[in-house]
Amino acid sequence: MTPLLQVKGIEKRYGARIGCSDVSFDLFPGEVMGIVGESGSGKSTLLNCMAGHLEPDAGQVIFGTRADGPVDTVTMSEPERRMLSRTDWAFVHQHARDGLRMSVSAGGNIGERLMAVGDRHYGAIRDRAIDWLGRVEIEESRVDDRPSAFSGGMQQRLQIARNLVTGPRLVFMDEPTGGLDVSVQARLLDLLRGLVREMGLSAIIVTHDLAVVRLLADRLMVMKSGHVVEAGLTDQVLDDPQHAYTQLLVSSVLQV
């Protein structure tokens, strides 16, 4: 099986300081990769480099496109990369406000990606918006409400619907459950797990919440100071941590 995404030697520096350095891994179709680490460990920098929001100083991000096979997205032209980020890629921000248009109705938010790839039939766009609202457990009657009238959990679910409506193959998630209370987190995780399995999505999830990766991720990378210190199957890393930092991280989780 060919990997969907091959990351090779990604490095990003902010002046003399290291954002992330020498990160390499393969992601296969249908696989969910978790990236954990403390604040400032470079996990968001890495995610933004992979998603094309930041330009890495070195390395390759090779994505298996539908049309042309594996292509390095770092060196591809900007129109191509932006097209990719509207179709085959999705990016779920930590704060729903960053990923939504707050002054546009829920239906318009979901429809934007469809219209961006050339959908021009209002009825069809609206039907798909309503279908997706249902899938993320938002009532159909809220389709014309603005996201500012939604709760934090609903906003996050709306953001997910807006991203998945074009049927992407790879989803980048930056702390998707951050800032939500635990019961809402649990529902969101259930929903995400269902969608990922149902659509056969590949995903890269950045989080500092070990419970999230335990539930969602097949594989896990632990980052510290811009470097990957440990990687492996999620259960293996969490149950038998080898690196001192991973041991610290696992033992820091509060038990209720």
Binding site: V104, S105, G108, E112, M115, G118, H121
Partner: protein
Amino acid sequence: MNEYNFAYLDEQTKRMIRRAILKALAVPGYQVPFASREMPMPYGWGTGGVQVSAATLTPEDTFKVIDQGADDTTNAVSIRKFFENTAGVKTTEETEKATVIQTRHRTPEAKLRKDQIIVYQVPIPEPLRFLEPRETETRKMHSLEEYGLMHVKLYEDISQHGAISTAYAYPVKVSDRYVMDPSPIPKFDNPKLEMDAIQLFGAGREQRIYAVPPHTKVVSLDFEDYPFEATKADHPCDLCGAEDSYLDEVIMDDAGNRMFVCSDTDYCRSRREAGHVGRLAEENAA
């Protein structure tokens, strides 16, 4: 004449504006930045249009100014006087006789000829502005032809009002490439944007000039199931009886009486002179 340089602006400035106009004509619908000057009138009163007119006028031209279709309102009168004073050109109220027409919010009802130039005053040239506030981002969207967002606005219209309720400044796609704000003309005027005359658009405060050359394809954006409609009030003109012109609604009294009149005063006047009579004009005559 007087101490002003011809048409107020100095020759270097007019040269700079003409270069921008030529570039705008070469790339239809593209917003060309230019070094907009301070004009002796406030922003929003047509400083962009005035500068484009000044760079376009020659001493032989005949100049007409339209404000919301009318020749006799403040904006039209003051700009007409401005060029009478500073350029000494002939002015007219008749669309037929004008060679340069500066307009705010309307396109004349009469069909323009290839030897005429129409200059639109534009308050906000960026059609994506209210959807995307960042100029860097809207420029990128234009250069990469990413116009999905424009349809999001139309989608919002339909979802809130059941129809595309955008009635003026209705976005168009020019020559299959650039999405353009046709200035705040009513969407009734949108089909007229494919014309024989040169159309120039000047935005003074925003420092942009753009253009639609003659016979250029101009398509109003819409949805397959909600096609574009050039709407107007469903009435004939009460003065001249015209059924094909864009109408203003005028409240007559506190009892709810109202009349509809052509917004293009020159068109209405020429029809009445030709003997056409509308509903209220008949009553007066009787």
